[in-house]
């Protein structure tokens, strides 16, 4: 430990060692700087920039002292001003994401809990089945539901067979329920994996102790398991909520109607429309600002966890 642990007698060697580690880190730092940090600066520069009056293209302004609020003002007035069309879309995004992530948790928690606590010898099979969707492309999974939800698809066939509906439901014609189903179906595998690994780490002796000390199964769950899984529930919700907020493809594939549009659809649309790119940049900066607190929470708690391990 004395030779490698940092507190070294020989100062020259120490500097050389640090140089080696710096050389390991440097390519990654340069890469992240050029292709992660700079791009975010570019978005700010576009959002704070102007519009070329002839070509209607967004002109970036690289000097932050010259940034203007024109694009932000436009986004803001679309968000809350008169004739605001993004305002309702924003509210819809929040509602869809809240319902979808809540449903995901309600489904994912019992499944992860069952597999970790009662999986027994079949745990490996369960785990493989839970991981399988993780390896199946998101587009494939949406396509699968498009097949099922068509007018003559199996869902409508089953519903008419059971006499629950008289006419086939137009599931793909802009139904909120379909989009929420798509979001749940799309993101739940990630949530389950996070919950699984969190619940799997809970020391079963603590649960046994709860039972031995006279708590009922249900109360053991409430007083022991649930508090111990708080952190993984939080992480899992972040892992699902954050990408849902930037989702535009689920909506586009399962509905395609503007009646179910989310913030992601607006940004995607503005990005592809001449003259609206500046606004698109401003809107994604605003979305980033809204999501910054949960993201920072995730980064800091991850950092703390890895510091504790080291």
């Amino acid at each position: 430990m004395a030779r490698l642990g940092g507190g070294r007698e020989d100062g020259r060697d120490d500097a050389r060692t640090r140089l080696v580690w710096a050389a390991f880190t440097a390519p990654g730092i340069v890469w992240l700087l050029l292709l992660f940090v700079v791009p975010f600066y570019a978005v700010l520069s576009i959002a704070g920039g102007q519009l070329n009056p002839i070509f209607q293209s967004a002109v970036p302004v690289w000097n932050p002292l010259h940034w203007t609020g024109a694009n932000f003002a436009k986004s803001w007035s679309d968000l809350v001003g008169t004739g605001a069309f993004i305002g309702p879309i924003f509210v819809r995004t929040v509602v869809f994401v809240a319902i979808a992530s809540g449903l995901s948790l309600l489904i994912a928690f019992p499944v992860a809990y069952f597999v970790t606590r009662f999986g027994g010898r079949r745990k490996g099979i369960f785990l493989a089945l839970l991981i399988a969707p993780f390896w199946i492309s998101y587009m494939m999974r949406m396509l699968a539901w498009i097949d099922l939800l068509q007018n003559d698809g199996y869902v409508n066939k089953a519903l008419t067979f059971l006499h629950l509906v008289n006419h086939p439901v137009d599931w793909l014609g802009g139904q909120s329920a379909t989009v929420i189903l798509g979001l749940v179906y799309g993101y739940i595998p990630y949530l389950i994996l996070v919950l699984y690994s969190g619940l799997d780490r809970i020391d079963s002796r603590l649960i046994e102790a709860g039972r031995d000390l006279g708590l009922s199964g249900w109360r053991t769950f409430l007083r022991v398991t649930l508090p111990l899984s708080r952190q993984s529930v939080l992480t899992g919700m972040l892992i699902t909520v954050l990408p849902m907020c930037g989702d535009y493809y689920t909506n586009q594939m399962l509905s395609g109607s503007s009646g179910t549009s989310m913030v992601g659809n607006v940004i995607d649309g503005q990005l592809n429309a001449t003259g609206l790119q500046g606004e698109g940049a401003a809107l994604s900066v605003l979305l980033l600002a809204v999501l910054l607190v949960p993201m920072l929470y995730y980064v800091i708690s991850t950092n703390r966890a890895s510091a504790e391990l080291a």
Binding site: M1, R3, G6, R18, W21, A22, F24, T25, P27, G28, I29, W31, L32, L35, P39, A42, I46, A58, I107, P110, V111, R117, F118, F126, L129, I131, P133, F134, W135, S137, M139, M140, L143, I146, D147, L148, D152, Y154, I188, L193, S197, G214, G217, L238, I239, L242, G246, Y249, Q252, M253, G256, D268, L271, S284, L287, L288, L291, N303, S306, L309
Partner: protein, 316 residues
């Protein structure tokens, strides 16, 4: 009354102690769950698994449909893979090109991301300065930022700043590498923590230089982690959508996911898309199977369980 309430449980526990001990012993003989089986939870879990897997199985089935419908079975055929002269994956140039584009993107991205991320992970674990912790922060941040926001940022950096890099394959690869860089770094760091420092110290005591210790001691020990991250990056790129959607330009730089998306807006795109998606699924599963087998083989001396292998190649 109060007395009974207080002593009641204690008496119960004492009275139940003997049968409990017997029951414990019986249980330890049988490899069964310690408590009564959770039938409700089990059926709930099976329902979830059916809901999660059956739709995909049906989509795979309809890729073999001998007809244009994605919902009515018209007999088995390979029409949408090879035999249809216009719209099969083999003969439709757009679909054909998409398969190749996906494979190339995954290959290039994996080849760049893994060495870059592994070196970054090792460096950041050992080089304790403000710069390294700041970029550790950036790296974890890149893991959790919504892909759309990152994609928009890349779109603008390639259209307004690094304009010599046009939208297309190069832009896609650069974006995908950045997006996936955190996988190898995070996985390698986790492995470094469990390895500890003692092996490197032993190498140093035996006269190895710092680089020799990394090359001949640390890297072989990190191999399973590096391999797992390569598998993960490859499969993630096969499935990636947002970055390639925003950074692809013309038709022939669009990989499979973008083709499926752009041909399916809210409706029927034909079973050729199912065939394309099935091929994508096949790629991912082949990679996963190879990853599983390779990881088992690499850790054969270490008593790594099947479940641990599964979680390792899924990045858990």
């Amino acid at each position: 009354m109060q007395l009974r309430a207080e002593t009641g449980p204690a008496v119960d526990v004492a009275g139940a102690a003997a049968p409990l001990a017997v029951a414990r012993r019986a249980r330890s003989l049988l490899p069964r769950n310690p408590w009564r089986h959770a039938w409700f939870l089990e059926s709930f879990t099976w329902c979830y698994l059916a809901w999660s897997i059956l739709p995909i199985a049906l989509a795979v089935l309809f890729s073999f449909n001998n007809g244009k419908s994605q919902s009515v079975w018209q007999g088995f055929s390979l029409r949408w893979y090879t035999s249809d002269p216009l719209n099969s994956v083999l003969h439709n140039p757009q679909l054909h090109q998409a398969v190749l584009q996906t494979l190339w993107l995954s290959l290039y991205t994996t080849l760049i991301t893994v060495p870059l991320g592994v070196a970054f992970g090792i460096g950041i674990d050992r080089w304790h300065t403000r710069t390294s912790s700041a970029f550790n922060f950036v790296m974890i941040f890149s893991f959790v930022v919504p892909e759309l926001i990152f994609g928009v940022a890349l779109f603008f950096v390639f259209t307004a700043l690094f304009t010599s890099i046009h939208l297309g394959t190069l832009a896609e690869v650069l974006g995908l590498v950045t997006w996936n860089l955190s996988w190898p770094a995070i996985i390698v760091r986790a492995r470094l923590v469990s390895i500890g420092r003692q092996y490197e110290e032993a190498a140093a005591d035996l006269g190895a230089s710092r680089l020799e210790a990394v090359r001949r001691v640390l890297l072989p020990m990190l191999m399973p982690a590096i391999f797992a991250s390569a598998v993960l990056v490859f499969a993630t790129v096969v499935d990636d959508f947002v970055i390639v959607d925003l950074l692809s330009s013309t038709g022939n730089t669009q990989p499979m996911s973008v083709i499926i998306y752009s041909n399916t807006h809210g409706g029927n795109g034909g079973p050729a898309l199912n065939a394309l998606a099935t091929l994508m699924l096949l790629f991912s599963f082949v990679v996963a199977a190879l990853g599983y087998a390779g990881y088992r083989w690499m850790t054969r001396g270490e008593r790594v369980g099947r479940q641990e292998t599964l979680t390792s190649i899924a990045g858990m």
